[in-house]
């Protein structure tokens, strides 16, 4: 895929983040941004083409392994943050009975 196309994924996520009124949708929008970033990094790591970064015998052109390693870290981080955010969503729902940002933020402190 083209880097230009993957950047569109990030923009879609940003659009979702600034328009969605639902907590779950916001969390998913952030996940979409994250997927876009991960795809972009992997794309740019393999911009000039090349085989997988596993050396068995002689290889002349390989994809850059560093982005792939960094992106594994990012995926793990992303999944844990999403899990924590969803658990907080459940708790917020239990306390307020809704998952709409507007409703939740309108309630005063201490209720």
């Amino acid at each position: 895929m083209d880097p230009m196309l993957t950047f569109l994924v990030i923009l879609i996520g940003m659009y979702g983040l600034s328009t969605s009124k639902n907590i779950i949708k916001s969390v998913f929008s952030v996940t979409i941004i994250e997927s876009g970033v991960i795809l972009l990094f992997l794309n740019l790591g393999n911009w000039q083409g090349g085989s997988i970064p596993i050396i068995n015998g002689a290889a002349d052109l390989i994809a850059d392994p560093l982005p792939q390693a960094l992106m594994i870290t990012t995926i793990v981080i992303g999944s844990t943050v999403t899990a924590l955010a969803l658990m907080l969503c459940i708790k917020v729902f239990h306390h307020y009975g809704t998952v709409e940002w507007r409703e939740i933020l309108r309630r005063g402190e201490g209720k």
Binding site: I10, M14, L17, S18, T19, S20, K21, I23, S26, V27, V30, I33, E34, V37, L40, F41, L44, G45, W47, L66, P67, L70, T73, T74, I77, T80, V81, L84, A85, L88, C89, K91, V92, H95, Y96, W101, R102, I104, L105, R106, R107, E109, G110, K111
Partner: protein, 535 residues
Amino acid sequence: MHFIPVYLIFVPVLAALFIYVFKSRHMNWLALAAQAVLTVLLVLYYREFSGQYENTLIVFGGWNDRIGISLVNDEISMSFMFLTVFSWWMVLIYTFEQGKTNHNFLFFLMFLEGVFLALLQTNDLFNMFVFIELLSILVAVLIAFKKTGDAFRAGLYYLVISKAAMMMFLLSIILVYNSFGTINILLVREAMQSTDSLTVVRLSYVLFMVAVMVKSAFVPLYSWLPRAHGVAESGISALLSGLVVKGGLYLFIRLNQMYEYANLNYADFFYWIGALTAVVGVMFALSQKDMKQILAYHTISQIGIVMMGLSKLHDPDMFIGGFLHIFNHALFKSLLFLGAGVIISAYRTKKVTDIRGVMRTMPFVSVFMIIGMLSITGAPFFNGFISKSIIKYGIVDSGIRYWILFVVNIGTATSFIKMSQIFFGPKTMTIRIRKPLKNFALMSLAFACVMLGNFYIPISEGFFGFRVQYIDIGTWANFFDYFLALTIGYVFYRFVIAPDPVPVRYIREHKMTFQQANYLFVVMIVVLLTVFVWW
């Protein structure tokens, strides 16, 4: 000796793990023991390396430093580390009695210390990203620690918004990596010299700065901070407001050092962002009635003042002013939050208008609170005065900039005059709780505030390595300025704020929605792009 930075990171982390695994009452002492070890190590490290920071580079695994992860220290990170360890001492002492039943709390707290120390020392962009994400998760958990609806809401808000910001940070790392072939900050900095005007470098700068602006709560991306710091437990609020927000400012310093050779003229832009942040923070603080909300909004305004100083990275005096203000703010804001925590837990309300007679009921706490208030309003002989004066001297010639600082001072004075109404009034019967350790923590912080306010010349020369002899406390002009600000503040409070007119109420009721916050996030990216790429 050479590996002390590694021990500094892993001593608190290991202590946290042991506290979690052995859920014994005596494990609380382990936290204090780890803290003592940390202090000794830090002092040893400082004695070994002060003045020769070029030898502090550690590359893990002994690999080529283009590939491996490295740690490096300089004056800035060194002084930040001392501040970190000091703040943790205070918060650990303050929360010691609560901690007896709560191992989870100490686990997160100690882990946070290790992560923060690691963030200060790292020399690798991706490593930095990992630590900031770890920091966000820990902070979100600590905010939600009370398990009330407010706390969950604030934690979620913070987590989602900071995650979005960190994705921009990561995007920027990608651009830097593919432009320079490395993510080692020192190497990237040197490589910048040859590629000053490329769009890709500028875009990466913009994305880094947007992330930093969210993490350190600049206007207009501040909306998470009052929610988060207002609902957390007082010890946590003190830590977040005093220190963890400064992590964002530390990133600002580090990243701007990295882009030093890229020929980006950012000083003016960030100066005005800082001024705007200071003014807006004070404006919101004036309208609030909740004690912790007032303090949280003042954190925003003080960050603005720090930013006014830090934006002049190449003008040593202004930079020093901002840098010192980070330390002074950490001291007095921790003091105020911890003191407020004691008062709130005794009176069981956060409303400034409902609390009366603190002076008679809790004389010690009131004295310490008053020291904190004098510091934050910039009274001579207290530490806030020193750093504010350095910043003031830097801009005294340029009319409007000086007046903005003056307006912010008046606003700060007004809002603390409003807060000081809690001291007056008859003695009220409150729940009597004896808390010697809490008083001890407050006393140490108040003592530090007074010390820094009076012996600033030897402290700043010996510790940070710069000379501030030109600040003179005793002149009449300073007292006149301060009392003028107090008088205007009192009049302003008496006739404008106290009657609670409609505009004040409107500002208080105004709460930014989540979409608006993110909309402003996109707007801010475009504004920064306009300033740094097209201009």
